[in-house]
Symmetry: C2
Subunit: 134 residues, 2 copies
């Protein structure tokens, strides 16, 4: 269950407007990016929100991976997007693939500003990084 | 898009075995917990993994929320679960609801050890916490 969870919060997105409102089109791009990164999609769910006012409304796109998940939320009224790419390292270290996928997704939206975080998951605090020989 | 993203990585889960393998049953519990916390589910996706060996295999459950999402991955062979609860604070501060939901989900699995993190999302670094008067 050890893994890497990357987040990126995108501000001032300068992409064409449809990238922030068209769940199906962006979802398909997410799937292509997952394949290109060498990760394995197993299920997907795209949800468009009903407009609450006169402007466009956002969507959520999630792709479940054999290696964990990606999730994307858009706020077209703010020109903003949040991205999560989480991979567990079961069988192999997928960290580089997660980073490549995140870079592809960030680039879609052409953000003026990005806040990034990376969290190592599944490791008990105080656990030794390596198990000493008996 | 400002919000709170809570993570919890659960080790040494002492719950009954079905909690780590039955995606539909746990997914229904997730939905009930979302409602009980006062959050609004808009879509759901549960995926059970095929067994790779003789032991039980895990699942992923995600519930998309009007306020963002929750996601849960299980590793029955390790007695482990990872949980994400992410709420944006559009219209109101949903942080207390996110914390209540996370507590309910953690309790389902009776973990012996939990690693928790909380990430404030969507705020530009260097942005003032309050806007000064003109």
């Amino acid at each position: 269950m050890h893994g890497l969870h990357l987040t990126a919060d995108l501000h001032d997105c300068r992409c064409e407007a449809f990238w922030l409102v068209d769940a199906e089109r962006v979802g398909e791009q997410c799937l292509q990016a997952v394949h290109a990164a060498g990760l394995q999609p197993v299920a997907r769910l795209f949800h468009s929100f009903a407009a609450a006012g006169p402007g466009p409304s956002g969507f959520t796109a999630t792709v479940l991976l054999a290696e964990s998940h990606l999730c994307l939320h858009t706020w077209p009224e703010l020109g903003a997007v949040t991205l999560d790419v989480y991979v567990c390292n079961f069988g192999a270290d997928h960290s580089a693939k997660a980073e490549a996928l995140m870079e592809t997704l960030v680039a879609l939206f052409q953000p003026g500003h990005v806040e990034r975080h990376a969290l190592r998951r599944g490791q008990k605090a105080g656990s030794p990084a390596t198990v000493p020989a008996a």
